[in-house]
């Protein structure tokens, strides 16, 4: 591969907030393409890859993680101020992540239960999406996001066009892959009909049900799916928990989940 380093490469940063670091692996797992990518884009801050310069102004900032502390609230403002184009990557950054479950509970009580010295923990009461704090130019959903999504976004930006938003339902790509529907043929409680595409219908193609890790699709009918899951014999509270999982902080899922959990608990 001939990798010619462009002279005026756009500068990019990868910032981490409250997260597991898994989405950043979508960069590191690019293999040979990682070399190509760094010839097209100059990474100036990417702590997981050993580059630390968080205050550098950049053209593209990738933000992983949710906003969960006072310091996060202030730091995301600095990131925004220093970035021309801000991309929130992964369920934590787009919906607050699994840790947003504390928004629906008494988070302080959990801390007191879990930690010997809760005084050292300075979490906010809530874990929230980046877009609730600053303007986000693009959201890449998924837990974690994958390399294909990142490449598509970067390539579009390099071409000077807005990346394409992917928000169809998982079913669409599941059927394009000719996967037999696991809900119809096996009675599995698949979340595909309300879940955003992008994963390549990974779980159904291995014979298991989608668990909504890419968040809500456009126009999700969570009520109709919830009723269907009841028809499959799943208890309302369990259905509620399927919505209140990785993307519990995404409004359509929060609402659908709370309705089931509270309505029947």
């Amino acid at each position: 591969m001939s990798t010619v380093v462009a002279k005026d490469r756009p500068r990019a940063a990868v910032h981490k907030f409250a997260s597991c670091d898994g989405c950043q692996l979508a960069f590191l797992n690019l293999g040979e393409d990682l070399l190509l990518l760094s010839s097209l884009v100059e990474f100036v801050h990417f702590a997981e890859a050993g580059l630390v310069n968080p205050e550098a102004p950049v053209d593209i900032a990738f933000v992983e993680g949710s906003i969960g502390t006072i310091r996060d609230v202030e730091r995301i403002q600095r990131v925004r101020a220093r970035s021309r184009y801000l991309v929130a990557i992964g369920a934590c950054a787009t919906a607050g992540g699994l840790q947003a479950l504390r928004n629906l509970a008494d988070g302080q009580a959990w801390i007191a239960d879990v930690y010997a010295s809760p005084g050292y923990v300075e979490s906010l009461e809530t874990s929230t999406a980046v877009a609730q704090h600053v303007k986000v130019d693009l959201e890449l959903w998924g837990c974690p996001v994958n390399s294909r999504q990142l490449i598509a976004a970067v390539r579009a930006l390099l071409f000077g066009v807005v990346p394409l938003e992917e928000h169809d339902k998982v079913c669409m790509e599941c059927k394009r892959a000719q996967v037999v529907c696991v809900m119809v043929a096996q009675g599995l409680p698949c979340m595909g009909p309300v879940t955003r595409t992008g994963c390549g219908a990974l779980c159904p193609s291995f014979g298991r049900d989608c668990y909504a890790c890419y968040g809500p699709a456009e126009n999700p009918n969570t009520e109709a799916l919830g009723r269907r899951l009841e028809g499959l014999g799943i208890a309302p509270a369990a259905i509620g928990r399927r919505f209140l999982a990785i993307n519990n902080g995404a409004p359509p899922f929060t609402e659908a989940g709370l309705r089931r959990v509270h309505g029947h608990d």
């Binding site: 393409d33 598509a152 669409m172 529907c181 119809v184 009918n221 109709a224 269907r228």
Partner: protein
Amino acid sequence: METGFLPRGRFQELLAVLHRSGYRCLGPQVRDGAIVYAAISVAEDLPRGARDHQAAGHYRIEQTASPRYFGWANGPQALKPLVFAPQEVLWRARRQADGGLELHQEMPPAERLAVIGVRACDLAALALQDRHFLGAAGDDPHYAARRAELFLVAVHCSDPSDVCFCVSTGDGPQASSGFDLALCELDSGFIVESGSDRGAVVAAELKLEAVGADARAAAARQADAARTRQHRSLPGRDLRAVLFANLEHPRWGEVAGRCLACGNCTSVCPTCFCHASVETPALDGGASVHARAWDSCFSQGHSYIHGLTVRSDTRTRYRQWLTHKLGSWHGQFGRSGCVGCGRCISWCPVGIDITEEAAAVCTGAADE
């Protein structure tokens, strides 16, 4: 044209003749809990004794002791994926050093494909897809290439499922045209008809036996039973006028409350043809792939034009699907777009029944 009888024990000979003629054979198999078309080389690959139980939103396979290979109604796939591929590269672009663009059409690999176990409804759907993709606007080259090399072995449907309604649409259960060979499966073997010159050539190589009177009588009884077994129907063949007179019917809003707008119905529908363009540039920017992928009128992108989504809610999307499938197809193709295969009923995750929705909108419209 009836050509003779192939005893069950000699079915392998049909596959052998097709293989010798250069065809790769696809046939029904049970995979992931459903009948799907997949490569077969020997008769033992066929789903002997398999039966499908279908209902709205429900599909299960039961294994029985029946010796039959084709004692099921259908699976989620018709012939559509074989001719109108779910995703297909149309052309590629390459950027040259001087900024020039090279644009090259990419064609699917040429392959002679024989499909065993095609249903009458699937043949009717294929005829409609032919009219669409090989129509007035010009032949779609990719569809045409895949279609030209297809050898179709139909099997008359002996066991329609609970959701089948091909009698109502006039498309089955007996295959009447569009096949190279058609088989009527009996416990003892197959009555073979040829429907094309190349079908006749294959049939001649099989050295078929004469069809006995018993076999002929059993075939007739079986066909009658398959017909009378169906209990679903559409409220009429041409619903265009009544559907378009009821565009503001409250049922559209009601069904939108149940519909997931997930596109499963349009994906399994053997006549749905909508597809989106998909551009995938290489990371280095030096090349790009232009493909098409099945789209659905249930997606937001389907009706999006810069800043405006024409059909922004499920009510208008479901209405678009039904009024097109059962209504405006008549103007476009001279018949309804529904062949009564029942797939959209079984494979709808929430079990919405097209015959029920059509009836609700088209009959007693004023009562709602």
